[in-house]
């Protein structure tokens, strides 16, 4: 079996690794700016798709199918994002005789519509957050929007029907802000998903985001897994996930898992999927949506169950029966935390920080897993999501996992660009995070209260060490240059070394 991975970055690397482990050969695809990307180097074969913008490369169904045919691939793994939840792509793969490693086109269509998924959940007897039943399409009048808003009640959430990853989502506190919020949500949803339809949902005030990973085979077996806690979000985008949740005991876990399995069974769902819930302070939970793909945060589930979800995706797609012990899937062994390392500058409001990665040293050691997508010398492009790696820490208890994560973050070096590593180091010391006291708006509240202070804080001793290092670096580079050594190798940033050299010699 040969698998084409219709994706890039860390998830393409993750899937290539799983294929290798199962003895399958791999085909990578890439855009112009990704020729030097890690997934291209790691795969057995690689095919160029087109220009850098995703619509001209990673979203081109025709070219992906052609690439599969040209390389003789028999299966396609979509990763997450891009075409992972696109029913037309799953269908095109099927029509071309390729095995799509994911759910059926019908299941993607059924569960991909957020309003359609709500109906299925209601039919399965699972509670949903009160909201609009029919989506508000591009033609919905202002009056209609106001009327629906009043019916759902404020505060409410505006969400893109095709949404995901926090895009096309807005909180609206009062009726007068509704039309504006709908306009911006539509604009974001239009450019991200090509669909501007939105719907409203009543806002639960202090919810946790709890989700259940599922696997379903082609023989009617659905296995739900121990929950993931994904309440640490910045602007509705998950940044830290963990498993299990401190807010879920064994009894509640069983109830949420049963609800998730009921929804998946009602949708005749196969392969890997995730059902997201809001957990209210009083312990009641509501179906939010289903993600019909592998999730970014799947590693925390793998770490606490010792199961490989990508292996299972492939095995299910090959027609194998699920042989996982359901109790094992629901019983966490220890605790796992994931930090999403983004090429963003946390000190500039998390502004994207693309650019040349001059060196990268991932963390390692006991309990640490680095799902990275970037090698040194790669230029993080501006065209795609800015996540460059996922750092996962596992330990026997949550406290120990936080200790390991902190140690690993201190080891992790990504030189040449800014990343969110300093932000995670700060978060791992926050009392409410340590105590597990948070909801989905916790991080935004906390960040607003900091008013843009730097996350990289140094004491006097640190600052002196850095200053000494900078001076010694200048001295050593000037020596290297005069003796034809390291400094003359001409790194791209030689402007500053040359300047320091001159000034240093003068001084």
């Amino acid at each position: 079996m040969k698998v084409l991975i219709a994706n890039r970055g860390e998830i393409a690397v993750r899937v290539i690794r799983a294929c290798r482990e199962l003895g399958l050969s791999t085909v990578a695809v890439y855009s112009d700016c990704d020729r030097g990307a890690r997934h291209v180097r790691d795969a057995d074969q690689a095919i160029h798709l087109g220009p850098s913008p995703a619509v001209e490369s990673y979203l081109r169904i025709d070219r992906l199918i052609d690439a599969a045919k040209a390389t003789g691939a028999d299966a396609v793994h979509p990763g997450y994002g891009f075409l992972a939840e696109n029913a037309a792509f799953a269908l095109a793969c099927r029509d071309a005789g390729l095995t799509f490693i994911g759910p059926s086109p019908d299941a993607i269509k059924r569960m991909g519509s957020k309003t359609g998924a709500r109906e299925i959940a209601i039919r399965a007897g699972v509670p949903v957050v009160p909201g609009t039943e029919a989506p508000l399409g591009a033609n919905a009048s202002d009056d209609e929007i106001r009327r629906e808003g009043a019916r759902v009640g404020f505060p409410l959430m505006v969400k893109a029907v095709a949404g995901g990853g926090g895009k096309g989502m807005r909180v609206v506190e009062s009726p007068d802000a509704l039309l504006n919020a709908v306009r911006t949500a539509r604009s974001e949803a239009g450019s991200a998903f090509g669909d501007t339809a939105v719907y409203f949902e009543r806002r639960i005030l202090k919810p946790r985001h709890i989700e259940i990973q599922l696997l379903g085979d082609h023989y009617g077996t659905v296995i739900p897994f121990v929950e993931r806690e994904c309440s640490i979000q910045r602007r509705h985008q998950k940044v830290v996930e963990e498993s299990p949740s401190m807010a879920v005991d064994a009894h509640l876990r069983r109830r949420i898992a049963d609800a998730a399995a009921a929804v998946a069974s009602a949708a005749a769902y196969t392969n890997a999927g995730t059902i997201e819930f809001l957990l209210d302070e009083d312990g009641s939970f509501y179906f939010l949506e289903m993600n019909t793909r592998l999730q970014v945060e799947h590693p925390v589930t793998e770490m606490v169950t010792s199961l490989d979800l990508v292996h299972w995706q492939i095995r299910i797609a090959r027609g194998e029966r699920l042989t996982i012990d359901p109790d094992r899937a629901l019983t966490p062994q220890g605790h796992a935390i994931e930090c999403r390392v983004y090429a963003e500058d946390p000190d500039q409001g998390f502004m994207p920080s693309p650019g040349l990665v001059r060196a990268i040293r991932p963390a390692a050691g006991p309990g640490i897993r680095d799902d990275g997508g970037v090698l040194p010398g790669y230029t993080v492009p501006v065209f795609y999501d800015s996540m460059i790696a996922k750092l996962i820490a596992w330990a026997g208890t949550r406290g120990e996992a936080i200790g390991r994560m902190t140690r690993a973050l201190q080891e992790y070096e990504v030189l040449g660009i800014r990343t969110t590593i300093p932000f995670f180091l700060w978060l791992m010391r926050e009392p409410d995070y340590l105590a597990g006291r948070f909801d989905t708006s916790y991080l935004d509240r906390l960040l607003a209260a900091r008013r843009g202070q730097s996350f990289s804080t140094f004491d006097e001793r640190d600052e002196v060490h850095i200053a000494i290092a900078a001076a010694l670096d200048a001295v050593m580079r000037s020596r290297g240059a005069s003796s034809g050594g390291a400094g003359s190798r001409g790194t791209r940033g030689s402007a500053w070394t040359a300047a320091a050299r001159l000034d240093g010699l003068r001084g």
């Binding site: 895009k167 640190d462 200053a467 001076a471 050593m476």
Partner: protein, 172 residues
């Protein structure tokens, strides 16, 4: 050799003399002298030991950043721009807070696409009021006015692709 090293708004004077061996230096920081044993670790890392100061050790990496002339220091998972001998970086210059005076430009911090222009020439704006929305890396980023004042000029329209550093709006 003496260097002026600036970080976090403070400049330190560092003088360096060769000590007994090629990788040992006598380093004086603002008048306080200490011995430093240094080795390069890779192209950007420095391992420093302080034999006279409880034998403490520290590893610092220094690499050019993506802004022109920018030098970034990395220590224990944290990052800070440093300036050696007054080579001020673009980003640090923008951070000095002198922004409140005179004409100010709002420039694109990264390449992207202008989604919306929220002001027109002649508009009055508050400090930190959003003026342009630029989409980059799939997220919409609001660029804000650095000061209260009047919009002197808007140099882009919605839909335009812009390079990093391109001036979008001028506030006076």
């Amino acid at each position: 050799m003496t260097f002026e090293v600036e970080l976090n708004g403070r400049t330190r004077s560092i003088s360096i003399e060769r000590a007994d061996s090629s990788d040992r230096f006598r380093v004086t920081v603002d008048g306080h002298a200490t011995l430093v044993d240094v080795q390069r670790t890779g192209q950007f890392g420095l391992s420093m030991l302080f034999p006279e100061d409880t034998h403490g050790g520290v590893r610092v990496s220094l690499a050019p950043g993506s802004a022109p002339g920018e030098l970034l220091a990395y220590l224990g998972g944290r990052t800070v721009p440093v300036v050696v001998n007054g080579r001020r970086t673009g980003r640090a210059a923008a951070d000095t807070g002198e922004g409140a005076l005179g004409e100010q430009k709002v420039a694109a911090p990264m390449p992207g696409r202008v989604v919306r222009v929220l002001v027109a020439a002649g508009d009055t704006v508050e400090a930190r009021q959003p003026v342009v929305v630029v989409e980059a890396m799939k997220m919409e980023n609001e660029l804000r006015s650095p000061k209260a004042g009047q919009v002197k000029e808007v140099t882009v329209a919605a839909g335009a692709s812009v390079e990093a550093g391109r001036v979008l709006v001028v506030i006076e």
